[in-house]
């Protein structure tokens, strides 16, 4: 491995495949596996409103992951400095988009805010922990990659 003496984040750019996109597709796949369970739990607590709210919440979380991954993947090909700026402003923009998405449906007849809120937290954290388990195993044992799921 080489270590660059005078690195410049402004001029350094990263070509090649984007691992964030792969991670996002993995998370999407795991989200598809987990969705029946989450929807069923919300259906038990909030009925049909819970089902729609859970689906809406899961779509929000997955779109959020893809937006974050897309931002990093696109800007890393241009410059690391730009990537840093995009991640920071993207964080604010994505929070704003989630806020807008929830504000737009808050008075809808089919929404249950409790189910929506809990789905957002549980799906986001649950899918991350699930993915982290796989990524940690890949990084710790590169020669022993876990079976593709």
């Amino acid at each position: 491995m080489t270590v660059t003496d005078n690195p410049s984040p402004i001029t350094t750019r990263l070509d090649g495949e984007a691992p964030e996109i792969q991670v996002s597709f993995d998370i999407l796949k795991r989200g598809a596996y987990a969705s029946p369970v989450i929807v069923a739990v919300c259906a038990v607590f909030a009925g049909l409103d819970g089902v729609f709210s859970a689906l809406y919440g899961m779509v929000l979380v997955l779109v959020n992951f893809f937006c974050a991954a897309g931002l990093v993947a696109v800007t890393a090909r241009i410059s690391l400095g730009l990537m840093m700026g995009a991640v920071l402003f993207g964080y604010i923009a994505r929070l704003g988009l989630i806020f807008l998405a929830v504000i737009l449906v808050r008075d809808a007849s089919w929404i249950s805010l409790t189910a929506l809120g809990l789905t957002i937290i549980v799906t986001h954290l649950g899918l991350l922990v699930w993915e982290m388990r796989y990524v940690a195993a890949s990084l710790a044992y590169p020669g022993l990659k876990p079976r593709p799921q």
Binding site: T4, P7, L128
Partner: protein, 88 residues
């Protein structure tokens, strides 16, 4: 300021409670977004430094950075959910 005081004086008890809940929820959301903002800035800054120094390890750093960003963002999402449950 006087107009605001007059407006507050006209509010009934329930409306006052609703207004207090809404403003508190807004504060909670704003405060909850500050910490993750600092965390993400620190995380990405260190990752960029590492990638610029050692481009060969960029793939590993980027994967870990992406997961770190998402975990940090979960804190802001928790604040947001508290906001929608209390304030909306």
């Amino acid at each position: 300021m006087e107009a605001l005081s007059a407006l507050v004086a006209e509010l009934t008890g329930d409306e006052e409670k609703a207004a207090a809940a809404a403003s508190s929820a807004g504060f909670a959301y704003g405060l909850a977004a500050i910490g993750p903002g600092i965390g993400i800035g620190y995380l990405v800054g260190k990752s960029v430094e590492a990638m610029a120094r050692q481009p060969e390890a960029a793939g590993m750093v980027r994967t870990t950075m992406f997961l770190g960003i998402a975990f940090t963002e979960a804190l802001a999402l928790i604040g947001f959910v508290v906001f929608i449950l209390i304030g909306l």
